[in-house]
């Protein structure tokens, strides 16, 4: 690799929040024109580190060196003046404004000119990033919004482009297009710092990777010498047993049938469900893939009973018509739900774990007597879940809000699975959860399918869909595709369906 000239480096960067060391003597360097990956679990300190480089946070100690000079970056404006651009994970765009206005907001006063529109066009033609400058951002797809972010950075001729998990929201086709753009940029001399937790991407795109764990450097390696497996070991710190993902297929009499389920759009923000049909048997895991906002939450609500169908026989479970049953009545039939939002939907953050246990168990006669809550019963059950599902708690029966995302999710999954459901419906079960916890959660889900339950996973994470499912469907614009056998379909096909082509 001809990467010799170092563009930016961080020396012994330390950043402390309260008594938590988010970055502990982190060292990092990126060369001119290099695409460098920054890897780590949630909370490993990746975001903190790039925020320091971009001037959003100030390090407590350590130096940032830009072109062989120690500098202090005062803020994002200063960073951009130096030639550092950043594309955020949760886009920093203004929905209500046009593409043009969004871009002009990020440019320094002297770069403002009447021909901004023309310059946007030039850049978008050069890199194949098509966009209409006059359209309002809320009308754009996620992929298009990302294009706006990239164009906005490119207009400032950056020498270093930071991208925070840019692929987590894209279809496989959009990802390969993005990679073409990034490779083109790198050839023209722009360095790219690429944060991701998708390990295959690291190998196909980057030349070197720096791995962080709990705020500390693990190592910096050439990516061609490593595999996804060895990367994940470095991230987690111990060997990952992926054998847990091997699923035994069984046949079981449990049966869920959805018949022509339709749902009108409730308001202008929601998606209409159109004629959804599928059936799943016990022992099978159905994965429903799709890009956010294509009807997943509407379908989830119809399955949980938060939305009730007016017509009968739309949802039939083991011969019972459950179309008109509310969530708790569905629970009585042996159905469990893991909603997407951990806080506010699956749990109440200011309640402790035993109270949160009770919230989905109060249909059970043992949880309360004549309206008086059976405190010790709920406490025991909550503690059993904590022990059995390896939930790390700061003390006995803590508030839901004091658990980390991964641990709270393990508690929720444990709570739902411990009820031994015949049908489990889970939406984004491992979203924002670290590798170790995700592994636990997924293996639990596989286990109950092996015990004969029907499992439906709604997820935007394609890797997860392929990892867990026996059957795969894609939801796009409120319509569900036919079911594919996992063994007989590839990533490209599913990706195309997610993008709306068939």
């Amino acid at each position: 690799m001809p990467h010799t000239e170092v563009l930016l480096s961080g020396e012994n960067i330390t950043k402390i929040f309260g008594d938590f060391k988010a970055n502990d003597n982190v060292n990092f360097s990126i060369s001119k024109g290099e695409i460098h990956a920054l890897l780590g679990e949630n909370g490993a300190g990746k975001s903190t580190f790039v925020k320091i480089i971009y001037g959003l946070l100030k390090p407590d100690s350590g130096n940032v060196i830009w072109k062989n000079e120690i500098i202090e970056i005062n803020g994002p404006k200063h960073a951009r003046e130096l030639g550092i651009g950043m594309v955020f994970q949760h886009f920093s765009l203004f929905e209500a404004l046009t593409v043009l206005e969004n871009i002009s907001l990020a440019l320094p006063e002297k770069n403002q000119s009447d021909d901004l529109e023309k310059r946007i066009e030039e850049i978008s033609n050069e890199y194949g990033l098509q966009i209409d400058p006059k359209s309002r951002v809320f009308n754009l797809s996620v992929g298009e919004q990302q294009r706006v972010e990239i164009i906005r950075c490119l207009l400032q001729n950056p020498e270093l482009l930071i991208m925070d998990e840019p692929t987590s929201v894209l279809t496989p086709q959009e990802i390969s297009k993005l990679f073409e753009v990034l490779e083109k940029l790198s050839k023209s001399g722009c360095s790219i710092l690429f944060i991701t937790h998708k390990l295959e991407e690291v190998r196909s795109l980057t030349s070197r990777a720096t791995i962080l764990r709990r705020g500390k450097n693990v190592s910096t390696v050439a990516t061609k010498d490593h595999t996804a497996k060895s990367f994940s070991q470095m991230m987690v710190g111990h060997e990952i047993n992926t054998n847990k993902y091997k699923k035994i297929k069984i046949e079981n009499e449990n049966l869920l049938k959805i018949n022509n389920l339709s749902r009108p759009a409730q308001n202008q923000f929601s998606v209409e469900l159109k004629d959804i049909n599928f059936s799943v048997r016990g022992g099978e895991i159905l994965g429903i893939a799709g890009i956010a906002g294509n009807g997943q939450s509407e379908l989830m609500e119809a399955l949980t009973g938060e939305y009730l169908s007016i017509e009968a026989d739309k949802i039939v479970f083991n011969g019972f018509d459950i179309s008109n049953l509310k969530p708790n009545e569905r629970r009585k039939h042996g159905i469990s739900f893991i909603p997407e939002e951990r806080i506010g939907h699956a749990t109440v953050s200011s309640f402790n774990l035993s109270e949160n246990f009770y919230l989905t168990d109060y249909i059970n006669d043992n949880s309360s007597n004549y309206g008086i809550i059976n405190t010790s019963f709920n406490y025991e059950n909550a503690s059993n879940i904590v022990n059995e599902y390896d939930v790390r708690v700061p003390h006995n029966n803590p508030l839901a809000s004091s658990l980390s995302g991964g641990n709270l999710q393990k508690f929720i999954v444990g709570r739902e699975i411990s009820r031994k459901p015949k049908l489990l419906v889970a939406s984004q079960p491992t979203w924002g959860v670290d590798v170790g916890a995700a592994l636990e959660i997924r293996s639990q889900i596989i286990k109950i399918a092996e015990q004969g339950a029907i499992v439906i996973i709604i997820s935007q994470d394609l890797d997860e869909i392929f990892l867990l499912s026996d059957l795969i469907s894609v939801i796009y614009n409120g319509k569900l595709s036919k079911q594919f056998d996992k063994e007989k379909v590839n990533l490209e096909k599913i990706g195309l369906l997610m993008g709306g082509s068939s």
Binding site: H78, M86, S92, L93, F94, E95, A96, L105, A106, R136
Partner: protein, 303 residues
């Protein structure tokens, strides 16, 4: 009839000024419910100034400035210390009501010299049109002009774009390097200035003496007006004239003994506001573009 129209125009001015100020505040993403309190401070300080100094000019200036000073209290708590905006705004109204009553106690009912109307030469001689449009005091002309200036500022200038951006998504604005708190503080101060001015208009033009609580809910009407105008500046004058028309009708109705209870008329502005809210919330595109998405949300940098 002519007098009625003039009365409608005059009584629309306080709410128009206060609502124009509050519109800027809300467009930057801040909900200041203290308009009533700031107006009362403007009214009492303007009254005291004109009674003690006899200068109408100083009364207008001090009235506006007292609104601004009151808004700084709000800005300090709600923006710098990031307290809950709704609670802080309500507290400001209670604070303004109490403080204005206290400092104005000695001046209650004392006659105040009115701000004279200024006849625009030639134009004011046009029959009918002249007295309605071209024969007002300077503040009336100013109010209409400031609405257009605010409209132009928000929609046509870079600073206005930045202000709208902050109101749309403060985290993004912060990530781009804009000082959210500074921009919002400026907006809040402008809102205070306008509310103070609107308050000063009451004793200086409408009822020429100071009375405790003399705004009589005009601050709340101004807040409703911002929503009624669906955050679009040029709709403020229309709404202000409509709302003040209803108020004037109430007085006329009472004087002439109409069968309609005046309470019904006084609730009309709020009913209209709710109707507008329902209508605009049905239109996704419109509400995304105009309603400030981060309205009332706390902003803490680096979080």
């Amino acid at each position: 009839m002519l007098e009625l129209i003039i009365a409608v125009i005059l009584s629309s001015i306080p709410i128009m000024l206060a609502a124009t100020g509050e519109l800027v505040v809300e467009r930057s993403g801040v909900l200041n419910l203290g308009v009533e309190g700031m107006m009362l401070m403007g009214a009492v300080i303007a009254s005291i100034t004109v009674i003690t100094t006899g200068s109408l000019f100083l009364a207008v200036i001090f009235g506006a400035l007292s609104g601004l000073l009151t808004s700084i209290v709000f800005g300090f708590f709600a923006l710098v210390l990031a307290t809950n905006q709704v609670a802080t705004g309500l507290a400001l109204t209670i604070f303004g009501t109490g403080l204005s009553g206290l400092i104005g106690a000695e001046y209650v009912g004392k006659a105040i010299q009115r701000l004279e109307a200024f006849n625009i030469p030639i134009l004011s001689n046009i029959p009918y049109l002249g007295p309605v449009l071209f024969s007002h005091n300077i503040l009336v002309y100013f109010s209409f002009i400031i609405v257009f200036i605010v409209g132009w500022f928000l929609l046509k200038t870079k600073s206005g774009l930045v202000l709208r951006a902050v109101g749309n998504n403060h985290d993004s604005a912060h990530a781009l390097g804009y000082s959210v708190v500074f921009i919002r503080f400026c907006s809040v101060m402008f809102g205070g200035l306008m509310a103070g001015l609107g308050g000063a208009f009451l004793p200086l033009v409408l009822t020429p003496h100071w009375a405790e609580g003399m705004t009589a809910g005009k601050g709340w009407i101004a807040l409703a007006l911002v929503v009624f105008a669906s955050w679009r500046p040029l709709r403020i004058p229309i709404g202000a004239l409509l709302f003040s028309g209803i108020t004037v009708m109430q007085l006329v109705g009472q004087a002439r003994g109409w069968a309609m209870p005046s309470q019904f008329l006084s609730m009309l502005p709020y009913l209209a506001t709710i109707a507008v809210l329902v209508i605009i919330s049905r239109n996704k595109e419109f509400s995304i573009i105009n309603a400030p998405a981060s309205l009332g949300k706390l902003f803490i940098a680096g979080k």
